[in-house]
Assembly symmetry: C2
Homo-oligomer: 245 residues x 2
DNA sequence: ACAATAAGTTAGTACGCACTAACTTATTTC
DNA sequence: GAAATAAGTTAGTGCGTACTAACTTATTGT
């Protein structure tokens, strides 16, 4: 069993500690770190409102939590300017993302989940799975480097390919590209794209783009498709003059 | 992501509800239900102190939680007398136990965990795994009816063999018995017993018992062992005149 | 440049779930 | 059966994490 919630999280046990010893974070704190990481990948510090929106909570709640995370040394907050992860916060975020992606891979490969339907389950499990379990899953999968959506899996040490990929929405007309990766957020959207052959590995060519976020025409294999701007922005690609492998 | 803690647990959404609609319980509430179930298996209502001890928290905390669980219709509390699960509380407890045991089985069979070392991991995962995931695990295992420690796995509907088994400590001198099941609580103890050949399925015979909780001598296969009362109480057996199967 | 709007923060509240201290009820023992 | 002990409850507190309302700071548009 072993319950006990609040107090075993504080962890004041050593004689002195320069850096506050972060033993175990709450689910919530972990989620904050993850979304801050993801927002920061966009280039700028994570704004309160953006965090709030990602988490589906009120902005006021975020202000409070950011202060606590700052106290824990996990983020650096500049008032009215947003938050950035500290080195330790970043590590935690990356470990969570590692967990998430390995779990997704495992569920798809070993338990028959669809890759369009796995996000939510992983979202809960990533907070409950031990590092050991995640490593075992990774081993069972042959230590993959990307998850079913094409997202790179960070190493235990927190190393990961952070190159920013272009999305279909960024592609110039006429370009040929390979789908590398897609957002795992919205199962509906993923199913929609899958039905149209837009999956990691697919080769496509952008045929035409209407202005004002209008429909984007492209060929996938030899089928012609037309998708909207939101869908296009969720598909990350790599330009390829020639089909490599 | 999706955080939001307190409020999505209340679940007042329908026009009217005779029975309070229990949407999702907290981890803690679930743990309470589980230990109440287990204590109740002993025959009498779960006493506050017993619950507190199992959960490693103060008795006062239990009093409070019992009132909340009673408000939710999950337990019936008689003041100063202890708590019993209601039908719905019992169902939830059994589903948790189902999760726990399937997860343990999965970890052992599919991920190479030792059966002596799996309890803690399952303890966390059982609160995070969806019913769907658990069913998939069960399928992948061929829908086993007992976990690696020999404990029966409840069905989705909450049916389970609740016969009370005798432990080695209850066995009369000279009796021959088959180990059916052992407590999964203490990994140390399990390793100790495993090393002595005392595992589910083993056949043993009680040779001698010293009084005052003294050592119990028994043969396991053709080896002779002597174990203490605590260890003996953790091993559940079924008497067998003749070795069946 | 300054008003309008957007973004962010503080203050006050609530609930979950733990704690300790003090009190009450049950049980045991002489 | 009364005193001693054990078990259980209430009261008050603290922390995490959410909320709304009211206020402050930044940004934007004319």
């Amino acid at each position: 069993m072993s319950a006990r919630a609040t107090d075993e999280r504080s962890g004041a046990h050593s004689t002195h500690r320069a850096v506050p010893r972060e033993k175990a974070l709450t689910r919530q704190a972990e989620d904050y770190l993850k979304v801050i990481y993801e927002i920061e990948q966009g280039g700028s510090p994570a704004a309160t409102t953006d965090i709030a929106e990602q988490l589906g909570i009120a902005a006021a709640s975020v202000s409070g939590m950011l202060q606590r995370l700052a106290r824990l040394g996990l983020v650096k907050v500049e008032r009215y300017r947003g938050a950035r992860l500290s080195a330790s916060g970043r590590l935690i975020a990356l470990q969570l993302i590692r967990r998430h992606r390995i779990i997704e891979s495992f569920l798809v490969t070993k338990l028959g989940y669809g890759w369009d339907d796995v996000h939510e389950e992983a979202e809960r499990l990533e907070h409950a799975a031990s590092a050991d379990l995640v490593d075992r899953m990774a081993d069972a999968l042959g230590n993959p480097t990307a998850d079913p959506h094409g997202a790179p899996i960070p190493t235990v040490a927190g190393r990961v390919d952070e190159r920013r990929l272009a999305s279909i929405a960024d592609l110039p007309v006429g370009a040929r590209a390979r789908v590398v990766r897609m957002s795992d957020r919205d199962p509906e959207l993923l199913r929609y794209l899958k039905k149209r052959g837009i999956v990691p590995g697919a080769i496509l060519r952008l045929v035409e783009r209407e202005p004002f976020d209008g429909p984007i025409s492209l060929t996938v294999g030899r089928a012609k498709q037309s998708i909207g701007a939101t869908a296009a922005a969720a598909v990350y690609v790599e330009k390829s003059a020639r089909t490599d492998r």
